[in-house]
Amino acid sequence: MLNKINSDVVIIGAGGAGLRAAIEIARSQPDLSIALLSKVYPMRSHTVAAEGGAAGVAKDEDSFDNHFNDTVAGGDWLCDQDAVEYFIHQAPKELTQMEHWGCPWSRTKEGKVAVRPFGGMKVERTWYAADKTGFHMLHTLFQTSLKYPGIKRYDEYYSIDLISENGQCYGVTALDMRTGQIKFFRAKSVIIATGGAGRVFPFTTNGAIKTGDGMAMAYRAGVPLKDMEFVQYHPTGLPGTGILITEGSRGEGGLLVNKNNYRYLQDYNLGPPDPWPRKKAMELGPRDRLSQAFWQEQQKGNTIQTPFGDAVHLDLRHLGEEKINERLPMVRELAINYMGVDPVHEPIPVRPVVHYTMGGIDTDIEAATRLKGLYAAGECACVSINGANRLGSNSLTELLVFGSKAGANAAEFASKTSEQVDEALLENMAKQSADKVAQLFHHQGKETIPGLRNEMNTIMEAGAGIYRTESSLKDAVNQLTQLKSRFADIELTDKSNVYNTDLIQALELGSMIDVARAMAVSALNRQESRGSHQRLDYVERDDKNFLRHTLATFAGDDNPTIDYRDVVITKSQPAERVYGGESK
């Protein structure tokens, strides 16, 4: 008999979105019991690594319309505009709430919250806490969550399968990593907040934990994954390690130059090379365009050879030591430690690196999925406000706005629902989920986990990288299909019950292969170039056929089935994107 734990709401993932959801439930409906599951302790969640900041209208000369337009244009018109509208209005409120909870936002001389410019913005609206915004937000949320006794944390529980029946979600099975025991978390409503899946790619800013578990879980339970072909490359990661150098460094005035010390972005329709100081520089163009420009420079042979591959230079020297120390202390520290380069004296070598999955679990503006009682928020979800390319600093705000929304709605659902369901049936499903893990655990196979994982990484980089073609994507899809069947024949060598990270990595790999297939098949079917999805064989944006969201539905061992849904357009008709210094 499986150990069963009853709560009103189960939240899977205790990063920014999960914690924000938990706090929302605990303070709006203190009677509800909340089980907060995470495969890591909350402060290890990858929200911690976000650097630059969180967007929300703050200045008098800014407006909600500006934030709306920047977001929609940045997303190449693939955003649902009703969701964006809600998002931009909630943003300043959520950021203010964070301030009340103690987030150490950087300040102006007058003691107001300071804002900095970020890529794709007309007016600066990025709230920041030096260059450790995600870190401070996560710790503020975690520490604030300790105030609420209603939040019961289950740290280091790896969630396995959603338990759903008849179109409604009733809980999740999870592995207690320290004992190896699988438990059934029965709940009236469930929120997934497990973050992205950058680890599908070999070269990423994402931490080891970002393996798309929540996406895969919802996907296997029948919820489509939306717009999975859109994977953001951040233009400035450190070669070798993929460590993120924040866009804030360009917001503060950093310049991108090629091996000839030439600001090459001017050649890619991103604006004139205005001298510093300037607000709307070409360096602050959208991330997709900057990453693509790097690829083009690489083709032309203008990139710089480093022992860790090709790079361009991010030059901060003109900012001076004092400003670098005040605004970008972590960038300096990271560059010195991991690159041996002090940005005060030398330019930092950087290159594009996989950063963010715009796509994710298909949710509506209420953070609800098509399974009743199942909600999703944060990077694992696709609302969608990010469209084809996320605007820098919208994601930290997104996890607050929609984390809060998911919490409120899940609480509401949990307190109203009066389901009639056969408990024995649910328990049996939970047991099957546990048996599946046991089978994996005991299987004697010949494939290794690191081997398959490296192959998957290579396939995705080669087939679904910055630029894609029909043949590269077809290859990727075919190879991933083979990989999926080979995955059934893996061997686990660790037979311990306690912190069996071999088993956890196997389960994560299973998730990643499913997510990777959704990405590759979605990308193959989108025969246009839009935002971060660039096809060398379909170079134009095609609004006639593809101003639509891709919905990939799980089909077992077969490739997912692909459907489309129209984008919600309220007030901004698709137009040409104008970038950085080109904009007014």
């Binding site: 004992t179 190896g180 699988i182 046991a438 019950n497 306690v498």
Partner: protein, 134 residues
Amino acid sequence: MKLTNGNYVRPPARYSWWLRQGRYFRYMMRELSSLFVGIFSIIMICGLYQLSQGEAQFTAFTSSLWNNFWWLSVITFLFVTYHSYSWFIVTPKAMPLRFSGKKVAPWIIIGAHMILWLICSIFIWFIFTNGGAQ
């Protein structure tokens, strides 16, 4: 799968931990200096007591201190000086000064203490050797 709670607790090195690392050893020497602070305090108190008992006792005390126990005084001096040094080195932690919103650099706080130490020492020496010369 079976339930396990078999955490292993390493026995701490209760008596010898401070020999394992330089930083622990330096700390223990700083702590041990208190023994010598105590010894010298008691010597001084004894001296004062002998002083109150009359000239003969006091002279016996000083000659014993200078002739028989000078070696103890040397050790005491070394430990107590180390105590002073190690105490001033950590003052910026206990007293983080701010001047018009900016943190005063630790070396300034340490330096100020060292200078104060020097001034106090010279002052005592000077007062004693010159004072009472009336």
